[in-house]
Every structure is written in structure tokens, then in C-alpha cells.
């Protein structure tokens, strides 16, 4: 058999062309990161120019922020869970449970107990979810959902049993600066935990690849449980805020908190499967986008049912643009 192969001296490829391509690639990455911020900017511009200035009124902006604040607080904690590639569906129920426990014990003993009880019950809910997930090996979103239903039921039952209104003294806290202070304190603390301590770093790495994390000496279960505990703690704080904001606890306290947090995180560009690309700022940006969209559409006079449809579409578009398909393992 005669075998032959031709060779050619390779001319160097035009450096210009390749540079252009790499810039395009970089721009695409950059664009992905910028989408949430651009969305926020577009919404602000759009609604400020089309609502006869009603959107930019101080009272309206305060209203948006006080709604978003609860989601921001619960979301900062939840991002620890989401960064290790789990979804926490217990938020709404856990929030309801904490709020009921807080106000009932507050009414019985002293309202000074309200905040610590909210935080403790929230954290307990987080640990129960973690226990069910880690020890009993139930998918975390299932365990969370059970807590969600239990919490909802409890809140509705309690609504019929107790009078759960906040005494007048506490209504001074119904003030934008209170919400702002809580968000600032919780966010900054969580940010430091997320970026500069093992809790955040390990959880992100677990989300990147659990097996590698395990083989690199990360105590995976312990840090997953810690993430749920942090999430529970912030839910407790969110419960306290909803008591203040609602002037007490009603049958609807905490409703949709888990979906709103999930929407906000995703709209803010938080990766759905967690990992090292997760950024805490997504919570703030996403919550603002979510509630501005809501508010703006209401000011336009859009039917509330249609608002939900529009939110669904916006959500889909954002996920389509920002989702990382690389890790999904799509076959040829």
C-alpha cells in the first residue's frame, strides 16, 4: 500500500479577523450580565415617560420599595440555597408560620419577643427542610413544598382562632426608612457571608459540581444545611417585615413569597442551577424589576389577570436570554 500525504506551510491567519471574533464573544458575555440592569433602566424610562409622572412620585416609589423589600430580604437568604443548586419552596409557608408564631407569642407575653420568635421559627423551618432533604433524601423543593402547605394551613387556621393585629405603638415602623435599614443590614451581612466566608464559597462550589466539592474536602451536607438555615433566618426577618407592613397577620401573609423570590432572583440574572457565577446583587435588581413592572402596568390600568400573563412572558424571555445551556448537556 502506498501512503502519501500532502503538506503545506501554514500561513499565519489574519490576526485582525480573530481579534474581532473574540471581542464579539466577550461582548456576548458582557451583554448577558448587563441584561438585568438594562431591563431595570428600560422599565424606569418607560414608566416615567408614560404615566404622567405618577410612577416617579415619591409615594409610589416608596410603595414599590416597601413591597420589594420583603422579597429582597427573603431572597438574600434564599440565594445561598439556590447557589448550591436547590430551590427553596418553603419560603411562603415558613414566612406565614414565623409571622403567626411571632405575633401570637408577642400578644401573649410581650411584643419584644416578636422579632426573635420570627427569626427562630424561620430558621427552624429552614433546618427542617434541610433535614428532610439531607437525612431523608427527599428533593429539597418537595420538602419545601410540604412546609409551604403546612404553613399556609396554619396561618389560615390561626386567622380564625386569634386576633392578630399589631398594637398601635409598632405602627411607627411602617416607614420607608425601616424597610431600607432592614434590607441594608441583611444584604450587607449576607453579601459578606456569600463572598468572603466558607458558607458562600462552599455553597457556590457545591452548585458548580457537588462531586468535585466532596472530593475537595467540602463537607457538603453541613454547608447545604447552613444555606437552608440562612434562608430560614431571612424568611423570619421577612415575616417580621410583613407583620409591620400589614399591621398584623392575615390569612394571606406570605402568599406567593417563594414564587416572587424565584422570579426576582432569575430576573436579576441569578443562575438557575447555582454555581460560581451566582451574584448576590441579582436579588436587589431582580426584586426592583419585578415590582416596578407590576406597579407600572397597574398605573397603565392593565387588568391584573393580564399583568400575570405579561409577567410570565417577561420571565420566559429573560430565562431564554440568560440561561446557561452549556451545563444542560443537550445532545446532538
Amino acid at each position: 500500500m502506498v501512503i502519501e500525504m500532502k503538506m503545506k506551510e501554514a500561513p499565519v491567519l489574519g490576526a485582525k479577523g480573530s481579534k474581532k471574533e473574540s471581542n464579539v464573544l466577550k461582548n456576548a458575555e458582557w451583554a448577558k450580565k448587563a441584561v438585568p440592569f438594562l431591563g431595570l433602566l428600560v422599565l424606569v424610562l418607560l414608566f416615567s415617560t408614560t404615566t404622567d409622572g405618577r410612577f416617579l412620585k415619591v409615594a409610589n416609589l416608596q410603595n414599590i420599595f416597601s413591597q420589594a423589600a420583603i422579597v429582597m430580604v427573603a431572597g438574600t437568604g434564599c440565594s445561598f440555597v439556590m447557589s448550591h443548586n436547590n430551590l427553596d419552596f418553603s419560603l411562603g409557608g415558613a414566612c406565614a408560620m414565623s409571622a403567626v408564631a411571632g405575633i401570637v407569642i408577642g400578644a401573649k407575653f410581650s411584643y419584644a419577643w416578636m422579632l426573635p420568635v420570627c427569626l427562630a421559627v424561620g430558621m427552624m423551618c429552614g433546618l427542617v427542610t434541610a433535614g428532610l432533604h439531607i437525612k431523608a433524601r427527599i428533593p429539597a423543593f418537595m420538602a419545601g413544598m410540604c412546609i409551604m402547605f403546612a404553613g399556609r394551613g396554619l396561618a389560615q387556621g390561626a386567622y380564625l382562632q386569634f386576633v392578630m393585629t399589631l398594637p398601635q405603638d409598632y405602627k411607627v415602623l411602617q416607614n420607608i426608612w425601616f424597610y431600607f435599614a432592614v434590607v441594608t443590614i441583611i444584604f450587607l451581612t449576607a453579601y459578606i457571608l456569600f463572598e468572603y466566608t466558607k458558607i458562600g464559597k462552599y455553597n457556590k462550589l457545591i452548585g458548580s459540581n457537588m462531586q468535585v466539592a466532596k472530593l475537595s474536602g467540602v463537607p457538603v451536607n453541613k454547608y447545604k444545611a447552613m444555606a437552608f438555615a440562612v434562608s430560614g433566618f431571612t424568611v423570619g426577618a421577612a415575616a417580621f417585615m410583613s407583620i409591620i407592613r400589614g399591621g398584623g397577620v392575615g390569612a394571606q401573609t406570605g402568599t406567593n413569597l417563594e414564587t416572587n423570590v424565584l422570579l426576582a432572583l432569575t430576573l436579576g440574572g441569578f443562575p438557575l442551577t447555582g454555581g460560581s457565577q451566582a451574584k448576590m446583587r441579582s436579588v436587589i435588581v431582580g426584586a426592583l424589576v419585578l415590582f416596578m413592572l407590576n406597579n407600572g402596568l397597574q398605573l397603565w390600568g392593565v387588568d391584573p389577570t393580564i399583568i400575570n400573563v405579561i409577567k410570565g412572558i417577561v420571565f420566559l424571555v429573560v430565562v431564554y436570554i440568560t440561561i446557561d445551556r452549556g451545563s444542560g448537556g443537550v445532545m446532538i
Binding site: 500500500m1 502506498v2 501512503i3 502519501e4 500525504m5 500532502k6 503538506m7 503545506k8 501554514a10 500561513p11 499565519v12 491567519l13 479577523g17 480573530s18 481579534k19 471574533e21 473574540s22 464573544l25 459578606i192 468572603y196 466566608t197 466558607k198 464559597k201 462552599y202 462550589l205 458548580s208 459540581n209 462531586q211 468535585v212 466539592a213 466532596k214 472530593l215 475537595s216 474536602g217 467540602v218 463537607p219 454555581g275 460560581s276 457565577q277 446557561d324 452549556g326 451545563s327 446532538i332
Partner: protein, 498 residues
């Protein structure tokens, strides 16, 4: 000329600023077994991806059997008679062997809406028989099979297409001796049938044995082709690296750093097929552990590191009598583990090089509960520098690195933790000679500092070249022990291995 099957003209492919393939041309003839060799990142896989339609060339043109050839997918390539066996796993869990073999071709066994699984199984069994496979049949679910057996299913799938050209992309690195022999026989048969084979491998001895010609690429450019007698490891090595590299990059014989002191004591391990395995690892020693893929040695590594809990037996650190019960305990005691499966077990691909290096050293970086960026960066810079990882900076994503550089990052991670005992499972699997030599050199340096290394390898020359002592495992037990000496040969090891 009539007997040319495939012709490539001036193929070019870039990824961003990296020119993966630059103006490469080649001709493949009937009955030719051509090796495509080069270091990691030299463009072999990219070139073959264009031939199989998974990548589209930026420039260049291909001709198959005299006709213009523009495959747009791996399926289109398969239909034109170009099949590929890939490096990683290509079978689907939850399906039977037959269903995997005839994936996408179920129509051939259909009558109306029903696919006849009886006829499909029959056809699959015939195919398996023709390959000399008898220990599992068409109805077996692939989940129950080993990596190697699954690889054979892929071979069946490729052979069923009756390809004119078969591309074998580093398939053999994952296979044991018997598995390799099967692939060699298939290649031999294809050659007899006047088909053509492109063989990609890092194992130059294997290339010499299997191929009648070898085309060398370096940094995406064509370097040259060797024919017949010219295909020797020395020639290939020289052309791949572009400089003379002495034939032996293993340790020089006669040097030893082995001390009396035992570093790690592994006692009576019982797990899966592992049965009563005991050995001691000494300071300053490279203990080689060899065998077939399924002999249990890979699991043994994980047990020694604490990642798998054995049914019975224990691993004890002699120095302080600590029992290794989890990776966290192991790492705290400066034990390192480099898994065989790099992409799934040792690296966070979508994460920066920095995070990959610092993950095992967090407790040393901590200042109270806080870990600052600067300390992380300093440690990563230092460790990556020590290993001379080729990268933009430590913030670069690990997935962008070549195979050899990825492994350097893994080694850097354990150097950063000042590891004292290293468990290396196939440390040079799928790695080019340059990095290989660097890793060997580092290993020698480590034992000269009194550290201990447990090296699992499927390459017999590597075992012989690097180990102070070799344990050969067979079916879960230690079947032979050899000291470093001139008398130990490949043959004596293989006898204990099979």
C-alpha cells in the same frame, strides 16, 4: 488517484483568538491506518470534529470518494460512511444494549407502529458475536455494564454503519488490555477490507504497533507525516515537541528516596469486589498500583482518601494514628487525591482557576471567619506559577484550558494545600508528553522531599518507569508485588494482571 477516500484542503478553524487548526490538508487512502498525533491543543480533535460534522470549518474544503463533502452533523457524516469513536462515554442509561446499538435506526425493525424488539435483539446479538463479545447480550441494560463494555457497544454501533472511514479518538486510553486488543482486531479487519482508519492516541508505542503512518500536528499546524518504518516513538516525539527529547522521561534507575517510616497503613479493606486488601505506603516512595480497569484499584483510591466508606477495614495515618474516614479528614492531614475522571471529579469547569486551586486550602486562608480576595489570589498565583500553568490569569475559567493544563491546575490545588501524601489515579491519562514529563519530574521532586505517592496507572511502562514498588491487582485482590529492578519486565507484570 482512485484509492483516495478522503481529501482535506486547507482546513482552518479558530475559536476566538485561538487558532485551533491552521490550513491543514491531508489525504486518506483505502486500507490506510493513519495515526493523528500531537500534544494537547494541537488541533487533532478539532480537525476530526470538522470531518465528522460536529464543527464547521472557517475555511477549507473536503472531498469524500471524489465528491464534495459537507457534513452538517455527526449523523450526516455517519450516513456518508464516516464514523467516530469518542473519548468520553456515548451510551444512554436506561436503554438495553440493542437499543443503544440501533439508536436512531429503529425503523429498520419496525412493522407499522411497532418496533420488533425480538428482531432487534437478534441483530444485536449477531453483531456482538462477530465482535467476540459473549459475557453480556443484547437485552442487558447498559447501566449494568462497565465503562469498557459500554465502549464496546459504541464500537458495535459504529461497525453496524459499515463505515468507510473509522475515527478512533483516544478511545483506547480508557480501556484495559483486553479491550484494546478488541479495538486493534477491528482496525486490522477494516484494513483488510480496504477501509480507512484515523487513530488518535497519546500512547506512542501503541501508535507504532497499530498504525502504518502517522501525521503530526503542532499548535494547529501541519508538521509532517511518517510512513512505515519511520513510525517510531522517537521520531514522533521529536516532531510533536519540535525538539529532541531524550527517550526516557521516567525516573533514572538506581535513585531511591524510600525511607523505613510508614506514612499510610491500609488494612484489610473489603468493598465490592475488593477483598482483604492491605498495604503500607512509605515516606519517599512511589508505590505503583496496576491492573485492569475493573480490578478495583480506582475504588481503592477513593477508599484510601475516605471518599468511599469500606464495608470492613481501615486506613490509618501512621504519624498520628488518625483514621481516614472522610475527604475532609484526609485533606486536613495533607492527603491529596487526583481522580482519574478529571472533568467530572477533580475540576469545577465553569469556575475560575483561582477557586479551583484554593478550594482545598480555605482553612489555611481564613483570617477569623473571613477569606480575602487578595490572600486567595496570592495563593493561586503562587501555586499556578510553580506548575507554570498556561493561562491568561487565575480568573480564567478552567474549562478553557487544555487537558494537560487542567491536570496542572489539579496538581497546583494539592500543592497549595502542602500535601504530604498524594493518591494519583492515572495522573497522566490523556495528557501530552510535555506536561507528562513535568508531572513525572514533580513526582520525583516530591519523594525526594520525603513525601509519599500512591500512583494508580493503566500504563505498564509508566508503572515500571516511576514506581519504587509495584502492586498488581486482579479481581479485587493484590496478585503480585515487585520491587524496582532491572529484572521486572512488562511481561512479568502482565502475567499477574490477567
Amino acid at each position: 488517484m482512485d484509492d483516495v477516500i478522503l481529501k482535506l484542503h486547507g482546513m482552518v478553524k479558530s475559536f476566538g483568538s485561538t487558532k485551533a487548526v491552521q490550513d491543514v490538508s491531508m489525504e486518506l487512502r483505502k486500507g490506510q491506518v493513519l495515526a493523528l498525533i500531537g500534544e494537547n491543543g494541537s488541533g487533532k480533535s478539532t480537525l476530526m470534529s470538522m470531518v465528522t460534522g460536529t464543527l464547521q470549518p472557517d475555511k477549507g474544503r473536503m472531498e469524500l470518494k471524489g465528491k464534495e463533502y459537507v457534513p452538517d452533523s455527526i449523523i450526516a457524516a455517519g450516513n456518508s460512511g464516516v464514523c467516530i469513536l469518542i473519548q468520553e462515554l456515548g451510551t444512554i442509561d436506561g436503554l438495553t444494549v440493542a437499543e443503544n446499538i440501533f439508536l436512531g435506526k429503529e425503523k429498520r425493525f419496525a412493522s407499522g407502529f411497532r418496533v420488533s424488539s425480538r428482531r432487534m435483539n437478534q441483530a444485536a446479538d449477531e453483531l456482538l458475536q462477530s465482535m467476540g463479545v459473549s459475557h453480556f447480550d443484547a437485552k442487558t441494560e447498559v447501566d449494568a455494564l462497565s465503562f469498557e463494555e459500554r465502549k464496546l457497544i459504541e464500537v458495535c454501533r459504529a461497525m453496524y454503519n459499515d463505515p468507510d472511514i473509522l475515527i478512533v479518538d483516544e478511545t483506547t486510553t480508557a480501556l484495559s488490555h483486553t479491550g484494546r486488543e478488541k479495538i486493534y482486531t477491528i482496525i486490522e479487519n477494516l484494513k483488510k477490507q480496504q477501509k480507512a482508519v484515523v487513530f488518535i492516541s497519546h500512547d506512542l508505542d501503541e501508535v507504532q504497533k497499530v498504525c502504518d503512518s502517522a501525521m503530526i500536528l503542532r499548535d494547529g499546524s501541519y508538521i509532517g507525516t511518517l510512513y512505515g518504518e519511520e513510525v517510531t516513538p522517537e521520531n514522533m516525539r521529536q516532531m510533536m515537541i519540535g525538539r529532541d527529547l531524550s527517550g526516557n522521561y521516567y525516573r533514572t534507575k538506581g535513585t531511591t528516596y524510600v525511607k523505613e517510616e510508614v506514612a499510610l497503613d491500609v488494612r484489610n479493606i473489603q468493598y465490592g469486589i475488593l477483598h482483604d486488601v492491605s498495604f503500607q505506603l512509605h515516606r519517599g516512595e512511589i508505590l505503583g498500583l496496576g491492573g485492569l480497569t475493573e480490578c478495583g484499584m480506582h475504588e481503592l483510591c477513593k477508599i484510601v482518601f475516605g471518599a468511599i466508606k469500606p464495608d470492613a477495614g481501615e486506613v490509618e495515618l501512621t504519624e498520628n494514628h488518625v483514621k481516614i474516614t472522610s475527604p475532609a479528614v484526609a485533606i486536613k492531614n495533607h492527603i491529596a487525591y487526583l481522580p482519574k475522571d478529571r472533568d467530572n471529579e477533580s475540576l469545577f469547569l465553569m469556575t475560575s482557576i483561582k477557586d479551583n486551586i484554593t478550594v482545598a486550602s480555605m482553612d489555611r486562608l481564613r483570617n477569623g471567619p473571613f477569606i480575602t480576595r487578595k490572600r486567595e489570589r496570592d495563593l493561586a498565583d503562587q501555586a499556578a506559577g510553580q506548575l507554570s500553568v498556561k493561562m491568561r490569569d487565575v480568573e480564567q475559567l478552567t474549562k478553557e484550558l487544555s487537558g494537560g493544563n487542567k491536570q496542572k491546575v489539579v496538581v497546583a490545588k494539592w500543592m497549595a494545600n502542602e500535601s504530604d501524601i498524594l493518591i494519583m489515579d492515572c495522573p497522566t491519562r490523556g495528557i501530552d508528553i510535555g506536561v507528562k514529563a513535568a508531572i513525572y519530574k514533580l513526582m520525583e521532586q516530591l519523594i525526594s522531599e520525603g513525601k509519599a505517592i500512591l500512583m494508580v496507572s493503566e500504563e505498564i511502562p509508566e508503572l515500571l518507569g516511576m514506581s519504587d514498588r509495584i502492586l498488581i491487582m486482579k479481581d479485587g485482590t493484590i496478585n503480585g508485588e515487585f520491587d524496582r529492578s532491572e529484572e521486572v519486565t512488562e511481561k512479568s507484570l502482565i502475567e499477574k494482571l490477567i
